[in-house]
């Protein structure tokens, strides 16, 4: 990120919408602008108040071509979408949007909320970032507007000008334990590990085995005490080693031992300095190529030559059609990639280059019946195997139903 100091010298800022685009309903424009400002107020002490008359700190307008005294001009459809000025008097803080664009509140044209959130970053003192995952990256990227659009890079940037949210005394929260059969379950990272698959979430991991109908749930630190929680990516390479990633560091693990001299920075693998973290990684053991997913981009690494392949990064959405923009986690199993994004899982055939199935994230845990692997103290403490718990439950239920049917049948026959 980059910024211009000192930013605004006050935390209560006003904004005024001077005119509206005919492309959208006025209420939608109001909402997009309000939400775009909230993006920044959620991570800073800044407060925004809308005014309808007079001079506001941030004057918002839709304009075309050469407009007023503004030193920067618009260029008709496409090209330049908007511009904004850093904090200050006069034009300072003002944000202009090119009326020649097609503004929308969805992904059909240019999403006003996303562009406005970017421009307000300038209004508050941020410059462009060369982190491709950040909102302040200068090129328009159609993201899911319902999700919070700031990356850590944006948050660090704005907080370096205004500081973080004011501290409020909060109730101490117990760290929540994830439930494997929760339909909204997401994973931090997934990797194969010899004959098993490991699903990482927070401080814990679930382990399933290819040849045993079994699930284990345990603390990451009980396997590898030196590893941090909340890891972000993991994969098994062709040399019986797994690599674990968090922020710009990675660890190498062989068997149950973390290799010495780790963590190492991800730049030693070949990433440029602007890459700050990796979202997901997977090795195709047939081609010996590893794919790294960083925001909306995908990098490819050659495990034989140990170098990054040329021509990367590429857009995930283009290279893996059908997956969407970003990936939470991925692993390779029996010739397929299993991509996880939000509460969905995509089975992807890398040879045919298409998605063959879409499933729930927890499809590997056979969750048809209520099953909460993480809630039982005995499971947590002793690594008890939940499959047997489930089996007993099924048997008892079946026996109960069978008994009722038997009694009803006998009553009818009499």
């Amino acid at each position: 990120y980059g910024y211009t100091l000192p930013g605004w010298r006050k935390h209560n800022l006003t904004y005024r919408i001077l005119n509206y685009t005919p492309d959208m309903a006025q209420s939608d424009v109001d909402e997009a602008i309000e939400n775009a400002l909230q993006v920044w107020s959620k991570v800073t002490p800044l407060i925004f108040t809308k005014i309808s008359k007079g001079i506001a700190d941030i004057m918002i307008a839709f304009r075309t071509k050469v407009h007023g005294w503004c030193p920067r001009h618009f260029d008709g459809p496409l090209g330049v979408l908007g511009h904004a000025f850093p904090p200050g008097l006069g034009l300072g803080g003002d944000a202009h949007f090119d009326e020649d664009e097609n503004w929308t509140n969805d992904a059909t044209g240019f999403n006003l909320f996303l562009v406005a959130a970017h421009e307000f970053g300038h209004s508050l003192g941020l410059t462009h970032s060369n982190d491709q995952t950040s909102l302040m990256f200068p090129n328009y990227i159609s993201l899911n507007a319902s999700k919070y659009p700031l990356s850590q890079d944006d948050i660090s940037g704005i907080q370096s000008i205004y500081g973080g949210l004011p501290k409020t005394p909060a109730k101490r929260k117990r760290p929540s334990t994830p439930r494997v059969c929760d339909p909204d379950l997401t994973f931090d990272a997934i990797t194969t590990f010899r004959r098993e698959v490991m699903f990482f979430k927070g401080r814990h991991l679930w382990r399933i085995y290819y040849d045993i109908d079994d699930v284990e749930y345990e603390l990451i630190s009980s396997l590898w005490p030196s590893l941090p929680a909340d890891i972000q990516a993991a994969y098994e390479n062709p040399k019986d080693t797994i690599l674990i990633f968090k922020d710009d560091n990675f660890w190498m693990i062989r068997g149950y031992a973390v290799l010495p001299d780790y963590p190492k920075p991800i730049y030693t693998i070949g990433f440029p300095r602007y890459v700050k973290k990796i979202d997901a990684a997977v090795c195709d053991h047939n081609t010996r190529k590893t794919y790294f997913f960083v925001g909306i981009w995908c990098w490819r690494y050659d495990e034989v030559t140990r170098t990054m392949d040329k021509g990367y990064p590429r857009r995930v959405i283009k290279y893996f059609p059908g997956l969407g923009l970003q990936v939470d986690a991925v692993f390779h199993h029996k010739g397929f990639f299993y991509f996880f994004r939000g509460a969905k899982q995509f089975e992807y055939d890398p040879k045919a280059k298409n998605t063959t199935r879409v499933m729930k994230t927890n499809s590997w845990f056979q969750c048809q019946e209520p099953l909460d692997l993480s809630s039982g103290v005995s499971i947590h403490k002793h690594n008890a195997h939940s499959r047997s718990v489930e089996m007993v439950y099924h048997k008892n239920l079946n026996m109960f139903i069978f008994s009722i049917m038997y009694v009803l049948k006998n009553i009818n026959s009499y």
Partner: protein
């Protein structure tokens, strides 16, 4: 073919020039004498732009550089103030 290719490259050059003027404010001069100076200035600005976007620094208008230039974006310069 050759005529079309020439036109295409001229169009790309014009687009690049407009892009660099917008975001990298090169002081491009008119007249024949200034042409050589402008060429190296343009190359330098293209390199600057390629460095910002994490592209290979060629100073030339290659496909990936043109693609970035054609992508809709914010009108605030990346460099300078």
């Amino acid at each position: 073919f050759p005529t079309n290719q020439k036109m295409e490259s001229e169009e790309s050059m014009q687009l690049a020039q407009a892009y660099l003027n917008q975001f990298y404010s090169p002081d491009v001069e008119g007249g024949y004498l200034a042409q050589a100076r402008n060429r190296s200035l343009t190359e330098g600005k293209i390199r600057e732009m390629q460095a910002f976007f994490g592209l290979t620094l060629t100073g030339k208008l290659d496909a990936s550089t043109l693609e970035i230039m054609k992508t809709p974006r914010c009108g605030v310069p990346d460099v300078g103030q």
